[in-house]
Symmetry: C2
Subunit: 207 residues, 2 copies
């Protein structure tokens, strides 16, 4: 009896979190109530509140969950790339595409809402810091970057801040083509700037 119940519980949580990300992206923070999320997930409101007592709990868990999933996918896609210098551009492209999907859209609604909402800010800031550190670690791995060299840490940080800026530029219009041109140029800049022959470390790194 225990196993299936736990399994069911996990499925319910996953469905609620997935529905929360979709609602945020489509309806914004104001439209994303627990009732709306529960209905989309096909879960009763009571069950939703059993798993996530408040709306803040639910949406931040959702963004954290999707963020973690995205990092796993990123590592898997990078592991499939060939090693050697031809890696630089696809890695740059992968990193600069990182914030162009529904996950970033949902997170952006949350960030902006949190800028005028103390309670939401309180839960979001530590989450943002944790996910940011995690993404930074993966970017280092993929770029095969040696952070002990001066400037490398800042260049990798700049890459991720650039990625977030490109996510913003993709919010209202499809910016894919321009982003591709920037990624090509970025790969040229990154290779000497991060110091290691890009791609020799990433593919083999254990994750």
């Amino acid at each position: 009896m225990r196993e299936p119940r736990q399994e069911r519980s996990r499925t319910t949580r996953r469905r609620l979190m997935q529905a929360a990300v979709e609602c945020l992206g489509e309806l914004g923070w104001n439209g994303t109530t627990v009732a709306v999320i529960a209905e989309r997930a096909g879960v009763s409101r009571g069950a939703a509140q059993h798993h996530f007592p408040t709306r803040e709990d639910l949406v931040t868990a959702a963004v954290a969950h999707v963020g973690d999933k995205q990092i796993v996918e990123l590592r898997a896609r990078a592991a499939a790339l060939p090693s050697g210098p031809s890696r630089a551009e696809p890695v740059a492209r992968m990193l600069l595409d990182l914030y162009t999907g529904p996950m970033f859209r949902a997170a952006l609604h949350l960030w902006v809402a949190a800028s005028t909402d103390e309670a939401l800010r309180g839960v979001l800031v530590p989450l943002e810091a944790r996910v940011g550190r995690e993404v930074h670690r993966v970017a280092l791995e993929l770029l095969g970057a040696d952070e002990s060299r001066p400037g490398v840490r800042e260049t990798v940080q700049a890459t991720l801040d650039l990625a977030r800026g490109l996510g913003l530029a993709n919010l209202l219009t499809d910016d894919t083509r321009r982003r591709g041109q920037i990624a090509r140029q970025w790969a040229r800049i990154l290779e000497p700037a991060v110091g290691a022959p890009a791609g020799t470390a990433g593919a083999a790194a254990p994750s």
Copy 2:
């Protein structure tokens, strides 16, 4: 009689636009109604609607106005910098600080609201394109960048996308210190990448 009336009209418009930017930053798009803006500006609601028939008209005019003002200020501050290679870092810092103030905060509320609001998107997208082109032109000037060289255009674009990403990173927490470190490294990357000895052109360029 005509001059003072025109003057009064301009003052009213300016006060409404200033109040709109403040309201957006503090209350978000949902809280920023024409009535709330008019009250903050000390203007009757009828007068507000005489100048700006819809809420969309008012807030987009406000963001455009503040954007233009910001570009004028940027040019003035850059003109005050010394020429020569010592210019690279202060110019990088200026560009990367561009989206850390109340103007970006207001624009961000609009962008995010527009992502779930067709009517707002319709007025915002052309405005964003115009302001984006203008800022790109100023950045080229300040960096003394030669866009005819391959990759320079994309590097300057990346600088402004990075600036927007840094604006986002500064939304919920004070990111000034980290941004300063990134700007220092960015200046080192920019100098060879944009091709011209940074800063020889900017100060003297006519605007």
